[in-house]
């Protein structure tokens, strides 16, 4: 009798169990339905109309910096009702040549390579009335060109401020510029001016070398410095990639502590080396602000005809 009763209870509960399973599957279906709206979202994104179209011409190196820059530029898309696309200028200036015929309302250019060619290119675009914002590296300054980026004098001063943390009274400084960061390379005199204004008489010797676009070039140069310039007690790097390569060379040469390093960038590896005391300090640019303000400047030029010809996005020092 009890068995029959329990069987009856089980049979009675079957509809509830089925209902529960049905609801569970319904929830799954709704979940799928909602996830499927991603397709609709994609479609709707392509249906949003923008007023202007700007292009950024930037290198593919220094992913962290340029990713930050891209984020800043893309954040500005919504604010300034425009679409921003990104072109690589590493080995191809064809796209840059075609800018007047691509329906682009203005470009932001990170000048890379020979400055004379870049200047000609900028002038060519100016002839077609295309506004050009120079990012980080001001190769041409006239009434129609604009700059958004780091103030190199301030970069030099920041290097000087970090250098003061060494216990030495007189410093033998070796700055390793890089073609990968042409902004500092082309304005090295201004950087050094800032450095001197900060350190003054503490500089015993100030020299520089230049790395190419080759990512491993810095290693070679560091070994040469260790070998040929034993008096150097502070090396300043101006590119994040060079910084990591140089640090590894110093470690391999067993010169940690003997030669101090000031690096460039705020990648995890650099921060890790700073924690371990291998790197004295680091200079960090503000790529997001650069990207955002470049778009903002292009928008202002297009809509008002005016914008700040020089916009300092500031730097940050880490130690």
């Amino acid at each position: 009798m009890n068995r029959k009763k329990s069987l009856g209870n089980i049979l009675k509960s079957i509809p509830f169990v089925f209902s529960f399973i049905t609801i569970a599957i319904l929830i799954f279906l709704i979940n799928i339905l909602l996830s499927s709206t991603d397709f609709l979202k994609e479609e709707s994104v392509s249906n949003i109309v923008r007023k202007s179209y700007y292009a950024f011409f930037i290198p593919t190196s220094d992913q962290a910096f340029f990713n930050g820059l891209k984020k800043g530029a893309m954040a500005a898309e919504e604010d300034f009702d425009c679409y921003v696309s990104f072109y690589s200028i590493d080995n191809n200036i064809m796209d840059l040549n075609m800018v007047p015929f691509l329906g682009i309302n203005g470009i932001a250019l990170y000048p890379l390579g020979k400055s004379s060619e870049i200047k000609d290119q900028i002038k060519f675009l100016e002839e077609y009335g295309i506004p050009v914002i120079q990012i980080e590296n001001e190769v041409l300054r006239d009434k129609n060109t604009f700059y958004v980026g780091t103030n190199n004098f301030e970069s030099g001063r920041a290097i000087g401020e970090i250098s003061k943390r060494t216990e030495k009274d007189l410093l033998n400084i070796q700055i390793i510029y890089s073609e990968k960061n042409p902004g500092l390379l082309s304005n090295k005199s201004i950087v050094e001016l800032g450095l001197k204004s900060s350190l003054g008489d503490k500089i015993n010797k100030l020299d520089y070398t230049i790395t190419s676009l080759n990512p491993l070039d810095a290693e070679r140069i560091v070994y040469e410095i260790v070998k040929n310039s034993p008096e150097v007690d502070l090396i300043v790097l101006t590119d994040p990639n060079d910084s990591l390569v140089a640090v590894q060379a110093i470690i391999d040469s067993n010169m940690v502590g003997e030669i101090q390093i000031i690096s460039f960038g705020d990648s995890d590896e650099i921060l890790n080396y700073m924690d371990k005391g291998v790197i004295l300090g680091s200079i960090v640019r503000n790529p997001y602000e650069i990207g955002y303000n470049a778009v903002k400047s292009l928008y202002e030029i297009e809509n008002t005809g005016f914008t700040s010809s020089y916009l300092d996005t500031g730097i940050k020092t880490l130690w």
Binding site: P15, I21, I25, I32, F39, V45, S46, V49, Y83, G103
Partner: protein, 480 residues
């Protein structure tokens, strides 16, 4: 208010199941259509840009021929294809927030530039500006290659994007189909269970009904009503069945009661029959006696025989249950006249009758004579002196009062109580009940709801008073 009918329940169950199944199918269908659209869009785009590229190539080659040899056919092709290319370009150059759309827009602008450059070069050719059109053609070729490259990149990127989208969609779609199958299976199962439940809610009460029907067919009506909580239709059937069962039970009890009454009535007729004598023989004999008395000048005997004949006439000829009061009175008078001759010294009859009402009332036949007869037989046993029987007949306000009283020995109270018990519904009535009891039972029979139709007031040694009160406005129960 939720309709509980089987029809609506089945309708809702069916509709909800169908709607859920349809929505599931619709969702799959919509996604399939979207999948087709993705493929269509891709192919349309691809075909469009292939035709653009082909048309540009169809310009580039004739242009080369035209510049080389000034070919008019090449010029014709050139102009035709340029016009065709121009027509293929959309005039709308809206900037959409999509990398793919932006790249398409760039290609349109580049083709604009290409067409414009073509026209310039053709003009330079016409003007025989060799250096200019030579350089122009060189630049145009670079532009041509650039456009071709752009179209290739666009196609490749578009293909990759669509491939990713397609793969994601396929993944989603497969998942969706799987869940849809489960979902539909569940809906079918749930619908089946709900249907089963509904069928059970119908079949169970029907089984109860059939069981009850069997009991009823066996004549058992006293079972409790069916308590069913099912769909409206079944509830109504159960209610109707309960009503029918109760109605039949009531009807049968009525029939039984009427059967009882019929039996009683027949018994009453029997009593009447028993109270009568062989009518014709007696009647003829008395007539003969009457003629004989007249022939012999025996007046007293003649009067006696006449009264007896009159009494018998009334008793034998009257077959109705109710007779006019006058007839009853006449019969009574004949009977009393006989008694007067029989008991001239020991009995005194005093009749107080309101002659004016005799035609206004009716009363059960043979009511007064049995009462008088009963009094004469029983009231004066062992009674010394003159016995007096007083009969009063009066009526007022539709109420008829018949009173028979005597100064006899009286009736004990327990006998009165026994006499005044109604035996209407009892089957076993003593066939020998006669006289007073006969009258009492007939009164109860005709007027079952009037408990005081007959009263007996008696005192030991002082006499008895029997009062019959008939309300002429109350219909006697004589429909049987």
């Amino acid at each position: 208010m939720v309709n509980n009918s089987l029809k609506s329940r089945l309708f809702y169950t069916f509709t909800i199941s169908i709607l859920l199944t349809l929505s599931s199918f619709s969702f799959s269908l919509i996604n399939t259509i979207r999948l087709q659209k993705i493929a269509d869009d891709r192919f349309n785009d691809e075909q469009y840009f292939i035709s653009l590229q082909t048309t540009i190539t169809d310009i580039q080659n004739p242009l080369k021929s035209y510049l080389r040899i000034f070919s008019t056919s090449a010029l014709s092709d050139l102009l035709t294809n340029m016009e065709k290319l121009q027509g293929m370009l959309p005039s709308d150059r809206t900037i959409y927030n999509s990398d793919h759309e932006i790249k398409k827009r760039e290609i349109y602008f580049l083709i604009d530039k290409y067409i414009a450059s073509c026209k310039i070069i053709m003009n330079q050719k016409r003007g025989r500006k060799v250096n200019e059109y030579s350089k122009g053609y060189e630049e145009l070729t670079i532009l041509y290659n650039y456009i071709s490259n752009k179209i290739d990149i666009l196609s490749l990127e578009g293909f990759r994007n669509q491939l990713v989208k397609y793969n994601n969609f396929l993944k989603l779609y497969r998942g969706l189909q799987l869940y849809s199958i489960f979902f539909i299976l569940l809906i079918v199962s749930v619908s089946f269970l709900v249907l089963l439940n509904r069928i059970n809610s119908i079949s169970h009460p029907l089984t109860q009904l059939s069981l009850m029907t069997e009991q009823i067919s066996d004549g058992y009506f006293d079972m409790p009503d069916l308590e069913i909580h099912s769909v409206d239709e079944i509830n109504m059937v159960a209610m109707g069945f309960n009503n029918m069962k109760n109605g039949v039970r009531h009807y049968i009890s009525e029939i039984n009661r009427k059967n009882d009454l019929e039996k009683v009535l027949k018994r009453m007729e029997l009593y009447t029959m028993q109270a009568q004598m062989n009518p014709h023989f007696l009647f003829n004999t008395i007539n003969t006696g009457l003629q004989l008395a007249i022939v012999e000048d025996a007046e007293k005997t003649a009067e006696y025989m006449e009264n007896l004949a009159s009494l018998l006439r009334y008793n034998l000829r009257e077959k109705r249950f109710f007779v006019p009061l006058r007839k009853e009175y006449t019969g009574l008078v004949s009977y009393i006249n006989l008694l007067k001759i029989r008991f001239p010294k020991s009995l005194n009859f005093d009749i107080d009758v309101n002659e004016s009402i005799l035609d206004d009332f009716e009363c059960p036949a043979m009511l007064l004579q049995p009462l008088v007869e009963n009094t004469v037989i029983h009231a004066f046993k062992e009674h010394d002196g003159l016995g007096t029987v007083r009969i009063t007949i009066d009526g007022k306000d539709k109420i008829l009062k018949l009173i028979v009283e005597d100064n006899g020995i009286g009736i004990p109270q327990d006998v009165i109580d026994n006499l005044l018990v109604s035996h209407v519904h009892e089957y076993e009535i003593n066939s020998k009940v006669m006289g007073l009891e006969n009258v009492i039972q007939r009164c109860f029979f005709f007027y079952p709801d009037q408990k005081d139709i007959i009263k007996i007031i008696s005192s030991q040694g002082r006499g008895t008073r029997i009062i019959i009160t008939i309300d002429s406005e109350i219909e006697p129960c004589i429909e049987l």
